[in-house]
């Protein structure tokens, strides 16, 4: 029987929360990819979204608010053979964690970053998240939001992510497929998931989104895959992705905006100068000699320090 990837921990999200759809999409994606549960891990931050790893029956770290990316990067770079899923809140990823978010774009380690985009800080009771529109007044706020909105797609592209997509938590079929493609993508991917929070956000509701979303893949000419063969085409595709990413007011595109397979992942780059990196990564190295002492030859390794 295939692993179903669901743990037996009580899920304590609010009834109607969009998080359920994301969770299901993840477990289904993992099942359909038929991955060995030992080879996938999830690393989250803090927030309603941050609880996700406990609900998945794979190794999971529920880290610190905003720090899932560096923790996850450590996991991935130390054992490049693992698939690392990073579910995170929009506050977590784009507020307190924005610095890491930008940095990971430059690294392209190979993380599957899933942003639970509910426009609010759920777990701390509904404050505006960085994804909330200027002037929006949700029920959790005492006055209209005074901050501008950051667009996750635009920021992900500007940061250099090689795979950028958007899903909607109530369209699990599409979301599951996006997650599958993202997990198979070698570099780091960002999936912005429109996730209604019925408890605090009475504006960006399920209905609100249902009316606005449309699928990029419905346009048969849409081609997000960059192979790197033509530089001009690549630039054009990036620009198209970016411009699509800016769409919001009238209609909201979902699907894969950008899928650049030409940018080498960080693990590939490391492999260029770390001997046997993939075969013998840090996580698996023998550090104790046969006699229980270090096997390192100090004189040879530090020959330049001897006189």
């Amino acid at each position: 029987m295939a692993h179903n990837f669901k743990s037996d921990v009580t899920v304590d999200w609010c009834p109607g929360c969009g998080d359920f759809g994301i969770l299901t999409s993840i477990t289904q994606a993992l099942s359909e990819l038929n991955l060995d549960p030992h080879n996938v891990v999830s690393v989250s931050g803090i927030g309603c979204s941050g609880k996700t790893p406990h609900y998945l029956n794979i190794g999971g770290i529920h880290t610190l608010h905003g720090r899932s990316i560096p923790f996850a990067t450590g996991v991935k770079l130390s054992n490049p053979n693992l698939k690392v899923i990073v579910p995170g809140g929009d506050g977590d990823m784009l507020g307190i964690g924005a610095g890491h978010f930008v940095a990971e774009g430059r690294r392209n380690s190979g993380l599957t970053i899933i942003i639970f985009d509910n426009e609010v800080y759920g777990l701390t009771k509904g404050q505006a998240a960085p994804t909330m529109q200027l002037g929006e007044k949700t029920k959790g706020l005492s006055r209209a939001n005074i901050f501008g909105k950051v667009n996750p797609i635009a920021l992900a592209l500007a940061s250099g992510y090689s795979f950028v997509a958007r899903g909607f938590s109530f369209d699990m079929k599409q979301l599951k497929e996006i997650i599958k493609t993202a997990i198979l993508h070698e570099g780091s991917s960002v999936i912005d998931v429109l996730q209604p929070c019925p408890t605090y956000n009475n504006i960006n509701t399920m209905d609100y989104y249902r009316k606005k979303v449309y699928k990029l893949e419905d346009d048969k000419s849409w081609d997000p895959v960059v192979t790197g063969e033509s530089m001009d085409k690549a630039i054009e595709q990036f620009q198209k992705a970016y411009n699509k990413g800016l769409e919001w007011e009238e209609r909201i595109p979902t699907g894969i905006f950008y899928d650049n397979r030409a940018i080498p992942s960080f693990t590939k780059r490391l492999n260029e100068f770390v001997p046997q990196y993939f075969k013998n990564p840090p996580s698996d190295q023998i550090v104790s000699g046969v006699d229980g002492f270090t096997p390192v030859d100090v004189v040879k390794t530090f020959a330049d320090k001897t006189i």
């Binding site: 030992h38 720090r67 990316i69 130390s78 100068f273 840090p282 550090v287 046969v290 001897t306 006189i307």
Partner: protein, 632 residues
């Protein structure tokens, strides 16, 4: 022989190369050299200097007044006015004689003001000549060397100034009486790659010796000693070497002085060579070093790696360490094995970023919100850095908690000749994952020593959370499990106390019974040991209670020694006598006498001896505090 020399010049002007040359020349002749680097937070132009000491046996401290002061710029003469004494030779470029203080704009304003006042007090002109006169008054002998002429006489073409460093070094060597061949040998070592450069520089060395011979500057030739292979390393190197030997395979860092040198060294030596009789498959192993976007990322990324089973570490300094507080608390809560090397510099805040300090001890002991166990160790010399880094990695692995290894900037930038690195001194055990099971209890409460079997991502399925958790690692708010988890975590500290030998926690140097008992930690160790010899010569017996592990604190051992001590003097490079506070917290014993230094410079033997004598002579007084002030 006991030769102290200071070599000064503008930052970025090659002072390090000069000093490397001098060190290698003496080393080639079989001598031991010990040195410290002092420099501004500046890339080019401001005053930097290296203070070296050369001896037959291994020196472990530095001393003023120096025997030779080599000034590669006028600033050096102004800055070191105070560091000369009877017999000091001041070597400088004759051209400097036309410089005045007002035009030495790279000197910090307050320093310039002080120099000005000193000269004015002595009614001396505010220029190099005035400064040299003052030095002469103190017993120094200025030696003006026409740098340009000497160099030009030697090299066929090229810019003469490019060889001034070599000239300065060579003249020093000549004055010290070291035969020219060693100077030439050092040139070959320093410029190894570039043959033509070696040739030109050797010409300059020869010219320097010739100049010294012609001008009766050359010292009495000193004997050549038997030469052995040695490691020329700093504290930074030591820690890097120790980590590599200790099984480190993942290191993160964000650049910061004086920590990042360690990571650069690891990066440069990341392709590890293994000893012959080890498994062939090890032959090509590498270590992953990641420059992160900040220190928060550094401390958390290293943990991510640790959770997969790699021995991992990060290294930083004050400001970066502050940013790690939250991550360290996570490591404590989640029992993540991680070694954090904390290079202490002058604080608070950006402070004196390139200067010495030992002001992060209390912070290290208490950093991170909430209560969690940690191990805090400290090194006192370059060799200790090696073995402590190894032990630190071992502790992290065995006790599954953050280990903080403190090294002060002085030590990080101390260069020492280490005769041997003993790869059998510290065992390194393999990181082993627990056998996987359906419901693997990562935080098994059923343990006497507090240690649960570790799990590793990729090998086991389990959970972790910064929240209080149950045995599987899932969030819990159950009051009872909470209490038990808290106690389990702290139980591990008791296990550390049971398992780690006292020698690795505190050491008593010298006679068990003494008139003076020094207490210290970190890089003062060497200078105190030297001062103990000086005191012995004065017929005053002294010993040193040297602390290496601050958490868990060796309270009983320390208590026993201090209770029977006659005159206890705490020596630290900070203002609050932090180690003394830790002692008070853990033993209730109050140390009333202290010698402190917090101006960011290394403590020298002369000033420490003087202060120790002051305290000794006034030991009847209840409370005494001496503040040391040496250093430019």
């Amino acid at each position: 022989m006991d030769l102290n020399l200071t070599l000064g010049g503008p930052q970025g002007g090659g002072i390090d190369t000069s000093s490397n040359m001098i060190t290698r020349a003496f080393a080639a002749a079989g001598y031991n050299v010990f040195g410290v680097r002092e420099y501004h937070s500046n890339i080019k132009g401001r005053h930097s200097y290296n203070h070296l000491r050369v001896k037959e046996e291994r020196p472990r401290s530095l001393k003023y007044p120096v025997d030779i002061l080599i000034a590669l710029d006028p600033d050096t003469i102004f800055e070191h006015i105070e560091d000369v004494g009877e017999g000091t030779k001041i070597v400088y470029d004759k051209q400097f004689e036309t410089s005045d203080l007002a035009s030495a704009r790279m000197i910090m304003r307050d320093t310039a003001k002080r120099i000005k006042e000193t000269l004015q007090d002595e009614k001396l002109p505010l220029n190099i000549k005035g400064a040299l006169q003052l030095m002469q008054k103190k017993g120094g002998s200025p030696i003006a060397v026409p740098f340009n002429e000497v160099v030009s006489s030697a090299i066929s073409d090229g810019v003469p100034t490019r060889y001034f460093n070599t000239l300065g070094s060579a003249i020093t060597l000549a004055i010290a009486g070291l035969p020219s061949e060693f100077g030439e040998e050092s040139i070959r070592q320093v410029f190894s790659a570039k043959e033509s450069v070696v040739a030109e520089n050797i010409k300059v060395v020869k010219a320097a010796y010739e100049y010294c011979n012609n001008n009766k500057l050359a010292g009495k030739p000193i004997p050549k000693l038997p030469k052995k292979k040695r490691f020329l390393i700093t504290g930074n190197d030591g820690s890097a070497i120790g980590k590599l030997m200790g099984g480190l395979r993942f290191q993160t860092y964000y650049p910061i002085t004086p920590a990042s040198d360690e990571s650069s060294i690891l990066e440069e030596h990341g392709a590890i060579s293994f000893i012959e009789n080890e498994n062939r498959s090890l032959k090509d192993s590498g270590i992953v070093i990641v420059q992160t976007e900040d220190e928060i990322s550094a401390v958390t990324m290293a943990q991510g790696a640790a959770i997969t089973g790699a021995r991992s570490s990060t290294a930083t300094s004050g400001p970066g360490f502050s940013l790690m507080a939250e991550g360290i608390s996570f490591a404590g809560m989640d029992e993540v094995p991680i070694l954090i090397t904390l290079y202490q510099r002058g604080g608070p805040s950006t402070g004196l970023p390139t200067r010495n300090g030992q002001s992060d001890l209390l912070f290290a002991l208490n950093t991170g919100h909430g209560e969690f166990p940690r191990i805090v160790i400290s090194s006192g010399d370059v060799e200790e850095c090696i073995y402590d880094a190894m032990k630190g990695l071992n502790y992290a692995q065995r006790y599954q908690m953050p280990v903080l290894h403190l090294i002060d900037k002085n030590l990080a930038n101390t260069s020492d000749l280490v005769p041997e690195i003993d790869s059998k001194r510290v065992k390194v055990s393999q990181v082993l994952a627990t056998k996987d099971s359906e419901s693997f209890r990562r935080y098994n409460l059923d343990t006497e020593n507090g240690i649960s079997n570790p799990g590793y991502l990729g090998k086991n399925i389990f959970w972790m959370t910064g929240d209080e958790h149950d045995e599987l690692g899932h969030v819990t708010e159950d009051p009872d499990v909470r209490d038990r988890m808290m106690r389990k975590r702290f139980q591990k500290l008791k296990t550390v106390e049971d398992e780690v030998p006292m020698n690795d926690r505190a050491v008593l140097y010298g006679p068990s019974d003494a008139e003076i008992t020094f207490v210290t930690w970190g890089s003062q160790k060497g200078v105190i040991l030297d001062v103990m010899e000086d005191l012995k010569a004065k017929k005053i017996s002294a010993n040193l209670l040297y602390i290496k592990m601050f958490e868990p604190f060796p309270s009983e051992f320390v208590s026993k020694i201090l209770k029977k001590a006659k005159l206890v003097i705490d020596v630290e490079s900070n203002m609050l006598a932090q180690a003394a506070r830790v002692i008070r917290t853990n033993t209730g014993i109050n140390i009333e006498k202290s010698i402190l230094k917090y101006n960011g410079r290394h403590i020298t033997e002369d000033e420490l001896l003087e202060s120790a004598m002051n305290i000794y002579n006034n030991r009847k007084e209840e409370k005494l505090e001496e503040v040391l002030e040496n250093g430019a």
